[in-house]
């Protein structure tokens, strides 16, 4: 059992019928060693058309979004709307530990392959469903998207400049958080199924995962103090000081949360600018003590940051144990010396597109490493492998299934 390349999830098989809201769940599981089989409609999933494309040119294997979200998976095409396709799906489901799906509520059930049916044929099976609003409740049938989740879940209201409309983050963060929750829930359900012999239906709601992730200014604090946080640019309503401050050649981000960090910062401002007022004990203590002085303190801090370049105040600030960090562009992050020293970005070779650089491990387990074991699959790339070799379907059957548009 000892070896450098053990996989944590190598005993688990996962079927994935997921769009962009759930593909990252499958990626997390696959990069940790699960056998994740991605089911696409014959012809390929629509997500293969999500920009950006390599060199700006669309194509089945050129969407960087698809290439990133589907690493380490195997891919088959299967039409579950076709009776023979459904039969194959049920065969596959018997061999699986987990199904991850993002179809509308009740969709699988209407096709006769809902959780009760699948569970009767495989009692330990876990079915994880990711939907906009969850499996029940008055809005279960409402449609969602990453932006809709950001609206109803809360992030939008507090993100952006005070005088501008609410705005979304880069990337589809609400999809990614729902996917990450779904991956954890799935493993908890699988661990439980191994003990009890019973799987379960996991109900992930995009609205709820988004709300939970962004709840720092949430219900408990509001019930306590009645304050609704509003958009305040780069700062945090509850943390003073916080935000981006001007340097000689750009902006530096600063956050102070501990009384000792404030003292160190105030002392430094005093040393460099001669400011006496900043040392007033009125400003000492936790952030909540400084909330009403935010604008004044921002002014004091700007007088300090204006004396430095971004690079210089980053390292001098950190030398003083104050959390100064640059606001990096994507180009700067790609070239970040710390990330480079840790070999964070990795190269993945793809038969169609060649070698591309990817973000690497989101965490580093010592014994069962995170690893991209293969690039994202081509359309139907593993049909033969899975249908013929693993399910024992004959070549002639396979041809007639292909002719009928089932695979």
């Amino acid at each position: 059992m000892i070896g450098a390349s053990q996989s944590a999830l190598s005993k688990r098989r996962v079927l994935e019928i997921a769009d962009a809201s759930g593909a990252y769940c499958g990626k997390l599981l696959a990069d940790m060693g699960a056998d994740v089989i991605k089911l696409e409609a014959p012809g390929g999933a629509p997500e293969r058309s999500i920009p950006p494309f390599l060199e700006g040119v669309p194509g089945d294997d050129r969407s960087l979004h698809f290439l990133y979200m589907n690493t380490s998976k195997r891919g088959i095409t299967l039409d579950i709307h076709h009776p023979e396709g459904r039969a194959l799906f049920r065969e596959l489901a018997k061999t699986a530990d987990l199904i991850v799906e993002t179809l509308p509520v009740g969709y699988l059930e209407a096709l006769g392959i809902g959780f009760p049916t699948l569970s009767a044929e495989n009692p330990e099976l876990v079915l994880t469903s990711i939907t906009g609003f969850g499996q029940n409740g008055p809005r279960a049938s409402w449609k969602s998207s990453d932006l809709v989740a950001g609206a109803v879940g809360g992030p939008l209201f507090v993100t952006g400049d005070a005088e501008a409309p609410p705005v979304a983050l880069a990337g589809e963060q609400n999809f990614l958080m729902a996917s990450t929750c779904a991956a954890s829930s799935s493993l908890i359900a699988l661990l439980s199924a191994r003990r009890t012999g019973r799987g379960q239906h996991v109900d992930i709601s995009l609205q709820e995962t988004t709300l939970a992730v962004s709840h720092i200014s949430g219900v408990g604090k509001w019930l306590d103090d009645g304050i609704i946080p509003r958009r305040v640019g780069t700062a945090l309503t509850a943390s003073v000081p916080s935000g981006a401050y001007p340097c000689q050649d750009g902006r530096i981000y600063l956050m102070v949360n501990r009384p000792a960090h404030w003292q160190a910062l105030a002392q430094w401002i005093h040393e460099e600018t001669g400011n006496e007022e900043v040392l007033d004990p009125l400003f000492e203590g936790p952030s909540s003590k400084r909330i009403e002085y935010r604008e004044l303190l921002d002014l004091f801090i700007s007088e300090l940051t204006a004396l430095y370049t971004v690079e210089a105040i980053f390292h001098e600030g950190q030398r003083r144990h104050i959390a100064f960090t640059p606001l990096q562009t994507t180009a700067e992050t790609a070239a970040d010396p710390h990330l480079a020293a840790r070999d964070y970005f990795i190269e993945v070779d793809h038969p169609k597109t060649g070698k591309l650089r990817y973000p690497g491990a989101p965490f580093r387990p010592e014994i069962t490493p995170w690893k991209i074991s293969r690039p994202a699959p081509g359309v139907g790339q593993h049909n033969d492998e899975i249908f013929s070799q693993e399910l024992g379907i004959s070549d002639s059957q396979l041809r007639s299934l292909a002719d009928a548009g089932v695979i």
């Binding site: 979200m69 809709v148 493993l187 992730v213 203590g285 950190q318 640059p326 990096q328 180009a331 973000p359």
Partner: protein, 408 residues
Amino acid sequence: MAGLKVVEFTQGMAGPWIGRMLAWCGAEVIRIESHQVPGVVRLYIPPRSVERVIEPEMSPWFTDWDAGKLFVALNLKTAGGTDLALKLVGRSDVVVENNRFGVMDNLGLGWETLHASNEKLIAISSSGFGDTGVHPGYVSWGPNIEAMSGMAWLGGFPEAEGAMTQYAYPDSLSALHGLFAVLCALEHREQTGQGQRISLSQLETTVAMIGPEMMDQMAHQQPPPRMGNRSSYRAPQGCYRCAGEDQHCVVSVATQHEWAALCQVIGRPTWADDPRFANSDARQAEADAIDAAIGEWTLGLSPQNAVESLQAAGVPAGVVQNTEDQYMRDPHLAERGYFETIPHLKRGEVVAPGIPLGLQGTPGHTTRAGAAMGEDNESVFRELLDLSADEYDAYVEAGAIELPASTA
């Protein structure tokens, strides 16, 4: 996760939220605190209180990230404190720590030591920058990581200079990944009996959240576009002003069918078949004109009314909700019982955001909130560690066990 034993040496949110979720699932989670370094989420002054003193058990942040756990207070700079911490680790399955790189080693609680006390241990260390590289020891909070990751710079409207969350997003995204990593390690341990250490750099987890955008940057040596509220594959998509102060809704159209429905709802039925808007790419090119038409329609409506009409017609849409909207005016969240009412040791009960794990077959719950630092010293050390009354007193005497402030 009944039967699972977790020990936390944590701060803030990125570490504690892992334990919070495991506790909700039934695990026994013991958080070790110290009066020398009070947790930042406990540093809460109730804004309405005249005297403005810190009330550490009353902090809603403390409820949100730490409810459901047992709390002991140890001075880890004493031999007795480290000794008791190691005894707790020795009987546990999982250790969660998110101190700055080097802190645990300096306390004599580095991985080698923890592992020596428990060969099957799974330990996760979550820090801003990881434990190798140019500056593993640098100080960071979630927003610092967001700033460094490229995500902040890339977000927001094209004409702006980026967008930052107000909720220290890297903390929660790291916690969710940390929880997943721990569960993977548990799965491996069930197969092999083998524990392991997991190291998580919050910067690296955060950069992974803009994976396609970073691939674009690295493949083409140029930054991806800032999208604002638009999408590269859904059109129209945007956030629109509604009647009332700071009221907005969003609309997000993917299919031709949804587009036709939208045209009907906003009173532009002829647009449904207009060749100018024949597909997503065409609508992308005409986004400004379409946004203006949608905005004209929403401006006269409350966001709730606008969204009801749109969803009834099959158009993806949502109200831009704040906390009050979610708690008071979202019948769906209410019916699903999303918010959790938790017994609170000082307040009777409190309401907290739900744990969104969706485990229908094995639903969890939060046992209690509002524990003081050292609240559970006696039950943990006397009952779980079997210390005699004399032994316990000796540890207190030596300053290793720190008593709750009220009884100190």
